[in-house]
Symmetry: C2
Subunit: 195 residues, 2 copies
């Protein structure tokens, strides 16, 4: 069946999301207009509304997709061994996964306040599931005497905050390779939890 006028083989949707991802990360959701997104894709602004009911849904879909990919990738990683080995897996996984998606990471952390209430609750639930995965490792390690941690909840948030800091400064091709960065951070995390 022949496509109608103007069709681009169904790739416009992904291109819209890619453009929005880049522009939202660079300038912020509120500072980017639908016209800017359309221009980057090469269509008129009205055409965007064939792919998203509104701007808010476009933001939410980007954030939800990122969080679900994160959870799926960690589940796939299938960390095994004792708590120390699992924590090392988590640290390296987190750094690697996030470094591959700097724009999505940036949006997922910076644009929470631009979500409406319903969407905010949904994203927070997904983030909570990821934090819980790390906290379970820390709890297991405390139970087995592998770690010395006064408060696993705080330690969970502290480790994630520390690891997220990588993205504010790391640039590939810089002084250190990604493997070296993973090694340095793993060493700090390992010592911080008393492993």
């Amino acid at each position: 069946m022949a496509r109608t006028q103007g069709s681009h083989s169904g790739i416009t949707g992904p291109r819209i999301r890619a453009a929005a991802l880049r522009l939202f990360a660079q300038h912020g959701y509120a500072a980017v207009s639908m016209r800017q997104i359309a221009k980057e894709v090469g269509v008129q602004a009205g055409a965007l509304y064939n792919y998203t009911p509104d701007k808010q849904s476009l933001l939410f879909r980007l954030m939800e997709t990122h969080m679900r990919e994160l959870l799926a990738a960690w589940a796939q990683e299938g960390a095994s061994g004792d708590a120390l080995a699992q924590l090392k897996s988590f640290v390296c996984f987190h750094i690697r996964f996030h470094m591959e998606r700097p724009d999505a990471v940036f949006i997922a952390y910076m644009e929470l306040r631009n979500l409406n209430e319903e969407n905010f609750v949904g994203i927070e639930a997904l983030r909570r599931r990821y934090e819980d995965a790390l906290e379970q490792i820390l709890k297991d390690g405390v139970a087995s005497g592998c770690f010395r941690i006064p408060d696993t909840k705080i330690a969970t948030l502290a480790v994630i905050a520390m690891l997220n800091g990588v993205m504010t400064w790391y640039r590939s091709g810089g002084r250190l390779s990604l493997e070296e960065v993973e090694g340095v951070y793993w060493e700090m995390v390992r010592k911080a939890v008393g492993g």
Copy 2:
């Protein structure tokens, strides 16, 4: 000399900056209009331009004031003793200072991309001075054999990132007092640097 009509004893300027600080932190710079700021202060939008040449300058002033207050407060702290004692001073100071100004902290980290290039360079220089203060402590500690750190630059950024994480979850009146939080974080930082 009698004041002219509508004067409010010269307090309108501070009230504008206070309103902008709160609104920028809550909704983001790009999402807040000059009319909203004016409404919160209780004046008309045009009156704001007696106190700032434009919206961009208003943002810059808030960020610059925050960074200069941070540097001045740390200088005033006058940390002394060996590197370990100085690091403990830094950790407690950082948590305390930042918890007292959540809105300013939020803006200083989230609105960098909304600064024009000249203003961005200025804020980054101030932030760099603060990071250098911490890195010097870490370097001193490494030189005196007090710390074991493979890379003081990364450790500096990791420590600050970890400490900044406090603000994403801590609420006064919660499970832990600020002193307890400082204690938990200090313990993690101390161990992470091998002190």
